[in-house]
Amino acid sequence: MAGLAAAFGSGAMTNSIADLGEADVALVIGSNTAEAHPIIGIELKRAAKNGTRIIMVDPRRVRLADHAERWVAIKPGTNTAFLNAMMSIILAEGLADHAFIAERTEGFDALRRLIEDYDVDAAAEICGVTAEEIRQVALAYGSAGKASIVYSMGITQHTSGTEQVRAIANLAMLTGNIGRPGTGVNPLRGQNNVQGACDLACLPNCLPGYQPLTERGTLDRFCDYWETDHELPAESGLTLVEMMDAAVAGELKALYIMGENPAVADPNQTHVLEALEALDFVVVQDIFMTETAAFADVILPAATFLEKEGTFTNTERRIQRVRKAVDAPGEALADGEIILRLSRAIGLEMDYETPAEVMREMAEVTPQYGGVTYERLEATGGLQWPCPDADHPGTPILHAERFTRGKGAFAAVDYVPSPEQVDTERPLILTTGRQLWNFHTNTMTDNSPGLAELSDHPYIEMSRADAEPLGICDGDLVEMTSKHGTVTAHAHVGRENAPKRGVVFMPFHFADAPANRVTSSAVDPTSKIPGLKVTAVRITKVKTPSN
């Protein structure tokens, strides 16, 4: 998000879900769309049937590859080298959109210097693919009238994630694939309301609507509006990973956790557990007794989305209504109601009768939500921000006439190897991700009869080529060790979605075999996203199950 915001002025998906099918070519890179975003997967499958050329770039043969024209099995963490090589070919073949570059962008010269003489063969070597594969993808994307890029955590969850996103933005701008139907740069958001939580500034470095908190004027305006006595600093707070570090260092004393399970979801689990242990005071507000709640001094019972009113903002920036279908059990309360009670207790008067009243205030202080009201949401079924005023119909495609920041900014970013490199001791690369029947830390799916029974076993997926020399067969119990920890699970060898040689995959959903016990918490220096997609590991066989 930080990368895209720097390039375009907005970190959100530029186009809409319905618009994906308009593309002549869709480059899907670092996204297991069919499992993590199944309904967007349906759109892409439909698009493929109607003639859109789908190109998958992923270390695993993810399910959507069945519908793609081509699957390029790239090594985790090498996307920037791949994308730069693509751009080099596009430029050399005369497929760059120079009119667009001249009119709509800035900073191209530095990128041109980088990609003009880019060594495509060396890039192919780094990526573990052939130069011809890169060339074919470059020609397909570069010569398309309308080309779209879809990506997800496979791009961002790297210590060089910001660079990888910049490289994607570069590629789209180089070919003028921005601002029209069937084009764009489309990051898919993993959770139902990540977009909204970002928009409303549950982030340490901005105020609602991504307004800078380093501008004293903006900050003071908020302080006045909120009628607070506190002198808020004009500098960013701590990110999640930084908070864990600060807790271990004894600088952070209290943590209030609303509906998150960092004990399982966050990288380097040992470090997180140490942090939770070190804190003086922990509040956990959740629907279940999660692994994190075990560290809490106070645990508050919250309501699920089926038990409350409000709005979510989806990955295509569409603000939609959430309506209450059932009552919360026992004394459980909606998270909003709990926050209101707490705010009164600490002396901040907040009086809202309904979520609709909160939305009125949000619309006043958040420019993108300026024209959003519950009445309009009821009438339209949803509005895509920016929707600055009551007459604005919402914005299906961003950056149509001009970029949010004015001109699109190129950045000459080159491939930076991950700090996690394979060696003889740890010869395989672990990449983590989601799978279809589980969600995040499994709090919801594991407690849902039916789904829970379909998939209740953690596993490590590997190719036949890697498994055979280790004497590992499908179903064997194996141990995976990194510099950070060890985890044990059953091996899936050479199955449907097997990764390429040299790469192993493990879903991160399972608390009894948490993939994040072996991942590192090293983060991207700009976005602070941890590099979860690349960890050097060793795998050894523990035993063959007897049956």
Binding site: I42, D66, G259, E309, M444
Partner: protein, 358 residues
Amino acid sequence: MTTTFDTTTLTVTIDGRRIAARTGQTVLEVCRENSIHIPTLCYDPRLKPYGGCRLCIVEIEGLRGYPTSCTTTVADGMVVTTESEALFELRRSVIELLLSDHKVDCLTCQSSGQCGLQDTAYEHAVEMPRFSGELHVEFIESENPLIARDLTKCIMCGRCVRICAEVEGRYVYGFTDRGFDSLPNTPYGVPLHDAYCEFCGQCVSTCPTGALSNKLGKFKGRIWEVEHTETTCGYCGVGCTLDVSTKNGKVIDVTAPLERGVNGGNLCAKGRYGWGYTHSPDRLTTPLVRRDGELVEVTWDEAIAEIAERLTAIRDEHGPESIGGLASAKCTNEENYLFQKVLRAGIGTHNIDHCARL
């Protein structure tokens, strides 16, 4: 590329009404747009026209026989009749034939009240079918926890086969065997799980009879007893529109309204079946405070007072930067806004984050 209709407007006459239509539209689509009812069993707006059930037949001037309206595209000046004595009798015969080998089980069938066959039989006054014949051998797959398949109620409309192929691209079902024995089934009749089924339940959502039904909601409520709430899914970032069916304060089923929202009636396994956690007996139901290492139940007032006291004390002693908050990508916009407001305006810190990066 989505199907782009030529925007040229044509004029057709349907049951004496002059109606504007677009090139490329089928007669059935124009009728549906204009609230002209034509009975159908094999039609689903998510699927390509099929022309299998023969119930949507109409009369068109200048055309011989009774063309199916779902597969006939409109032409300028076309004159269509959707209701006549002949059409009624033909449709009635089709329904009687369908019923001749149907396990009529409306007493306890989960689909009763939302069954295409039941509705069309009623509409065409089929009290006693003229024909009776062999029934299919009882075939109920129960080796999975979600989808019940009772093919003695199958009418061979092919919607399950087509939605799995056309929309999901999974090809779990195909027609197996020949003649009377032909049924939509998995390869070699293996259980769904072994046929690489994703359990999205799209086949259940399109089945017009009780041949496919959701196990979770079975015997929990009839369609006419449930309340419906339209909301937005709480799993991934797509934001699908859900129709949540509840009875006596419990969710019994989740479906997606056709032609609404980003999903247009489609759902995945999590969205359709992943709601049971909300009624789990393991839900937290009382505020808890740790006293001498043990968690004890307290009232809301006590819990809130304890938090306010401890946070204020920590802030006074170590400064506001010693307090942090993790918001949630699962909570609503309004809740996340209030959360950061309390931390910023109430505590005085920007130490706020959530799992956007994970």
